[in-house]
Symmetry: C2
């Protein structure tokens, strides 16, 4: 479906040019002429790699979805005391969600997922679902289990993650405010962990 016809010498240039234009203009707004110009290739070259605009779009954007997936939680974090580990986890998610890359990926995938269902799925699986699974894995480590009392780690992970996606994220998404400060990210992370622990920490 989104497989290239072939890969030639300028394949990476095409991907890069396409990414830049699609991320800025969306699918409908991006013209193939503009993509070819930005990629510094001829349109014929572009069409020698991809059968059509849709295939190019899906190839580029689903690849970018995969860039957002994270590997396993680092051993450093797992070894920290639970409140500190949770803070580090929250902080890293809050920070990531507020990056230009994450914001624009989210916008683009929200906009296009009805027209390209496989994109919606790819985004969800490499993004939200992957994040969820990371936290669930952490919550099920022996250390976390010793200090937390959780009946349903899916719900707990979901809540923690959602408290990392705050009003500030919505403001950024809709262009109401500019860049976030470290103070804001720190505050959101601390408050998320505080509420999380209020519910799930074992009582002595």
């Amino acid at each position: 479906m989104n497989a290239p016809v072939r890969k030639g010498r300028k394949y990476d240039q095409v991907l890069e040019g396409a990414r830049s234009v699609f991320m800025r203009e969306g699918f409908e707004g991006a013209s193939v002429d503009q993509i070819a110009r930005d990629a510094h290739v001829s349109k014929a070259t572009l069409y020698s790699y991809f059968p059509d605009k849709q295939s190019l779009f899906l190839a580029v954007i689903t690849h970018d979805c995969e860039m957002q997936a994270r590997g396993a939680m680092s051993e450093d974090i797992v070894q920290k005391p639970v409140p500190e580990a949770l803070y580090a986890i929250a902080h890293s998610f809050v920070s990531f969600f507020l990056t230009g890359f994450a914001l624009q990926m989210f916008r683009l995938c929200v906009a296009e997922s009805m027209r390209f269902p496989e994109l919606g799925r790819a985004f969800y699986e490499t993004g939200p679902q992957n994040a969820q699974n990371q936290i669930i894995a952490y919550l099920e480590t022996p250390r976390a289990r010793a200090e937390l009392e959780i009946e349903d780690s899916y719900v707990a992970a979901d809540q923690l993650l959602q408290m990392c996606r705050t009003d500030l994220l919505l403001k950024r998404l809709f262009g109401v405010v500019g860049d976030a400060s470290e103070d804001e990210i720190d505050r959101i992370s601390r408050e998320a962990v505080a509420t999380f622990l209020a519910r799930y920490q074992r009582r002595p």
Copy 2:
């Protein structure tokens, strides 16, 4: 900017036709020819009401943003015991966020807010900010204050709201699952309130 040139006999038809096409296709994907057809008016009529496609889009969509704003919290809710009131509030937000209208408004505004900054602002103010303010107003009622201990009602309201916007909402947004069941909505609401109260309820 998005003020109509004039309002004639078929003005409402134009708004309705435009809404339907813009909501389905987005700004770039919607053609003026298609809008005129759906509205059962001639293109000339349409252009006699609005100077251009952008103006029509902004008029229609910012008006729809205003449809999502809510009035003050009902007196019934305010009179309930706090846990029950919070549950009713959470439940109504979870339900609303999962409606077809809210989902499609969110998608469209996310997609177009960079190109139309005033739309991003209108959406944020009539949507997320308005919801936030509703909850803050509730949290500051005498009854809620008597039972909750909250240092910062903005943060508390933000967290409650975010726990109403769960993984399920993301799944719906990206088209990964179908309609939500009442059980799911109920579960999300209960869990959100449980976590909220774990942190903010006064200890006896």
